[in-house]
């Protein structure tokens, strides 16, 4: 038994090293001479980068909490019209890349967009004579990101609400709490680890975003990193900024951990799922409209804009090549999602088995990558892999007389590794929040009955965790599908994904032409989202 514990620890550690490699490469790069760049940044723009990033995070934290928990509450506590559809449809905004949502809102609300133009002609006013919110602003960015990212909170909160035994709530109500009091005093605190995990995922994604913030002209940490790299030609300076970003993440993770520490609730799952409340007509309409809000602004509005654009261009873009893009995208996304899930299970379970420094460290390292912009991770992956490739090549040239060339860095392997560095955190977070709701008594029972840890995971935990595991799969899948910057740098020759295509057209200011590829990202993401959500629902009914 001790031996098997050690092998779990070793596996966990080696996964962590895989993730740590690119981050260490970053550290290495940051040691290069940066020629007083730092001084310049501190004197001029650094404060702006920090403040904008902090405000953005605060705004996104508050709004994703409200939207995500609110939506999860509605679909788990009430029986209302269209509930079955809402349950999965509320996830849809996640399938749209943030920068695409940003583009389409800008197209709609911008000073030259159809809405303001209509206003001007209808009321016969010209620019400057009326007030209209500026979409390309900090407020606009908070709006767009919150409506794109709330599904993280919704997904995890919903899973937590569903996995909670209703006996807690029944007890609360027996003790005289109203339904709302029971929610705030019992349901919400029990779900806190999941909710905090969801918000921190949303925040990490916010920190890593480049496409939307740069389009909105905001000076955040990420835009600063690229400005320093591309504009000031200082890779070292950019790496240093990226390390500060990692500092932000560590603070975030510490907050998350603290919040979990104070709240360790586990239900032993003597299953009695809660009965959602049936509603009167008026209340039904009210709940329906509330549930519609996140879906409307996160998905329906931006998608309608895309569809309108796509209708005018589809014939020029719909070619056989398109199916190649779809297949490339789906292959990469499913491959990465499956690997990520397995690795996350190993890391999370190793920690559960023995909470040593090793397993704790592994967990922390794995969590770091998510907030790092894809480009930075890509460079961090590329440098050590190419070095390894060249070393292998040298060895083969001298000892065997053949050249192996670039066997890792020029292939999909590099891409999958970069994705894992960036997205393993998401899978881990979901798996962990699921595991935390299972009482250790169950593990002990299984083990005392002679099961090995691996066997316990497979036969006991995995079935119990089905919903959380599927959640992990969905998020990684969708995230990979949307991923752009790392794909852009690391992909092999003649290999494109839908996100690459959409971006290339959009960044060339051809939003209309980009709409078609964007819709396909959503459609391709739709199928697994629906399928997996249905599968995860089955378990809970």
């Amino acid at each position: 038994m001790r031996f098997s514990n050690i092998s779990w620890q070793l596996s966990s550690l080696s996964i962590a090293s895989l993730i740590a490699f690119p981050l260490l490469a970053l550290l290495w790069i940051s040691f290069d001479a940066s020629q007083g760049i730092w001084r310049h940044l501190a004197d001029t723009v650094l404060l702006d980068y920090v403040l904008t990033s902090v405000w953005l995070m605060l705004g996104v934290a508050v709004s994703t909490f409200a939207l995500g928990v609110g939506a999860a509450y509605l679909v788990t506590h009430y029986e209302f019209t269209g509930k079955g559809i809402f349950t999965w449809a509320l996830l849809l905004p996640l399938a749209v890349p943030t920068y695409i949502t940003a583009y389409s809102y800008t197209g709609l609300l911008d000073v030259a967009g159809p809405l303001q133009s209509q206003l001007r002609t209808t009321f016969n006013v010209s620019y400057g004579q009326y007030w209209f919110p500026e979409i390309r602003s900090l407020g606009g960015a908070i709006f767009v990101m919150s409506f794109v990212l709330y599904p993280y909170v919704y997904l995890l909160a919903r899973a937590a609400f569903v996995e909670q035994s209703s006996s807690f709530r029944n007890a609360a109500q027996l003790l005289g709490l109203s339904q709302h009091q029971a929610f705030f005093k019992v349901t919400l605190p029990i779900a806190r680890p999941a909710i905090v995990a969801g918000i921190s995922l949303a925040l990490m994604e916010t920190l890593a975003d480049y496409g939307a913030v740069s389009y909105f002209g905001l000076s955040t940490f990420t835009t600063g990193i690229f400005r320093t790299w591309y504009g000031l030609d200082s890779v070292a300076g950019a790496a240093q900024l990226a390390l500060i970003l990692l500092g932000f993440v560590i603070v975030l993770m510490t907050i998350e951990k603290q919040s979990r520490k104070r709240a360790r609730y586990q239900s032993s799952k003597t299953h009695s799922p809660f009965e959602p409340e049936k509603l009167s007509k008026g209340k039904n309409a009210l709940v329906f409209s509330f549930a519609l809000i996140p879906l409307l602004f996160g998905f329906i509005v931006p998608m309608s804009q895309l569809v309108i654009w796509a209708l005018s261009t589809y014939d020029t873009l719909f070619t056989a090549e398109f199916w190649q893009l779809v297949s490339n995208t789906l292959t990469l996304a499913s491959l990465t999602a499956i690997i990520a899930l397995i690795l996350a299970l190993v890391v999370a379970y190793a920690y559960r088995l023995t909470a040593t420094t090793t397993t704790q460290l592994s967990k922390t390292v794995v969590g770091l990558g998510y907030a790092v912009p894809g480009t930075v991770i890509a460079v961090g992956t590329l440098v050590p892999l190419a070095f390894l490739d060249n070393t292998i090549d040298d060895w083969f040239r001298t000892h065997v007389g053949i050249s192996t060339g670039l066997i890792l860095s020029g292939t999909l392997t590099a891409l999958v590794i970069a994705y894992l560095v960036r997205f393993l955190a998401v899978a881990l977070s979901s798996v962990e929040s699921g595991l935390s709701t299972i009482s250790p008594n169950i593990d002990q029972a299984a083990r005392s009955l002679g099961r090995t840890p691996a066997n316990t995971v497979r036969t006991i935990h995995m079935p119990m965790l089905r919903s959380s595991l599927l959640t992990a799969l969905i998020i990684v899948f969708v995230d990979v599908m949307k991923e752009l910057p790392a794909t852009l740098i690391l992909r092999p020759f003649n290999f494109n994904t839908l996100a690459v295509r959409a971006y290339e057209l959009a960044s060339d200011e051809r939003l209309m032409d980009a709409s078609f590829a964007s819709i396909f990202i959503v459609l391709a993401g739709l199928i697994p989202v629906i399928f997996l959500t249905k599968a995860s629902l089955k378990q809970t009914h």
């Binding site: 310049h40 030259a112 690229f226 591309y230 030609d233 070095f387 392997t413 060339d508």
Partner: protein, 340 residues
């Protein structure tokens, strides 16, 4: 699930093996130009030579980093960029080899070529000032005029993170004192109608609806808006501005180039040379001028009617290398001036 993993793994392996198989009749292109923009050119090349073009498109600096990391095993033959600054950076990184070609010597003027023949310019991109036709009395004849206090609240220009603005300021730094240019940049920032946002086209659109009356933008964006009358709003927005060629009495209008270099480590160096020669040929230069609305580097190519309408202009003859060497100072200066 296991089966699926295995089949996915075998796809990966297959693509890996396929990537290793280098046949002589191909050329590997790392391109900072979007694939869709150069596709017509590359298809033409493959058709006339039978050489297949493999392409990875990405950001120039990322591609440069990739080439450097890949080292002697890099599969890349040609690096294509959208601005002179990056060509300069690549040359400094020591990745380019010297291009010896009579065709290129004949077709491309000295001004648009590296002094050591390590890179060549392939198209010229002009960045003039555009003014709305409805604006009553704006008198502008130089970039320097953009800082005039009477233009308060009138200018739309994109972020200083954009390379074309960086190059513009770099070109000003080459002919003037840093202190003066910083004052100028502060004046320009004070004249901005709004905090910089969006791309070049967005500035033209904003001017069309009256948010500002002066725009700085590359001409091919405007030409593209004017070329498609079906997209009515863009066509109308494009029609609402006129092009003013700045600094015609002096050094000329600021121009940048897109260009390419052949890598030292190129496995298909001959094909690489043929590709660049093709891009400098009449046929390719016509595509640059008529499909992408850029100005050709080669003399004697007929321009697109939209470009002809703007008339000919005197282009700044500043050494393109200066755009590269001054880039970092330009960015720092814009940081200090508060140009977001």
């Amino acid at each position: 699930m296991k089966k699926r993993v295995i089949s996915l793994a075998s796809i990966t392996m297959a693509s890996l093996l396929w990537a290793c198989q280098a046949t002589s009749e191909e050329v590997n292109l790392y391109s900072a130009r979007k694939e869709a923009l150069i596709k017509p050119l590359l298809e033409e090349f493959t058709q006339s030579t039978g050489i297949k073009v493999n392409i990875i498109s990405s950001k120039a600096d990322a591609l440069l980093k990739r080439i450097q990391s890949e080292g002697k095993n890099s599969p890349a033959d040609v690096l294509l960029t959208t601005d002179a600054g990056r060509l300069h950076r690549a040359k400094n990184a020591g990745i380019f080899s010297v291009i010896r070609s009579e065709v290129i010597d004949q077709n491309i003027p000295e001004q648009y070529k590296d002094s050591d023949s390590q890179w060549v310019g392939l198209s010229v991109r002009a960045r003039p000032i555009m003014v709305t036709k409805s604006a009553p009395s704006i008198t502008l004849s130089t970039y320097e005029d953009l800082a005039n206090p009477e233009l308060n609240g009138q200018i739309c220009i994109r972020s200083s993170s954009n390379i074309y603005n960086q190059s513009l300021v770099a070109s000003l730094l080459a002919v003037s004192d840093e202190e003066l240019i910083e004052q100028w940049a502060k004046g320009l920032v004070a004249n901005m109608a709004r905090s910089p946002q969006g791309g070049d086209r967005d500035q033209i659109r904003a001017a069309a609806v009256g948010q500002c009356s002066v725009v700085v933008a590359n001409t091919y964006y405007l030409a593209n808006m004017l070329s498609n009358a079906e997209k009515e709003t863009d066509f109308a927005a494009g029609s609402s501005v006129t092009v003013i060629w700045p600094n015609q009495e002096g050094r000329g209008t600021h121009v940048n180039i897109s260009g390419a270099g052949i890598l030292k480590t190129a496995p298909n160096a001959d094909n690489a040379k043929r590709l660049i020669e093709f891009l400098a040929s009449d046929k390719a230069q016509e595509i640059y001028a008529n499909v992408n609305f850029e100005y050709p580097v080669k003399a004697g190519i007929s321009l697109h009617p939209i470009l002809q309408k703007w008339g000919s202009f005197k282009a700044d003859t500043l050494d393109m290398d200066k755009l590269g060497t001054n880039n970092a100072s330009a960015v720092k200066l814009m940081d200090r001036a508060g140009w977001k």
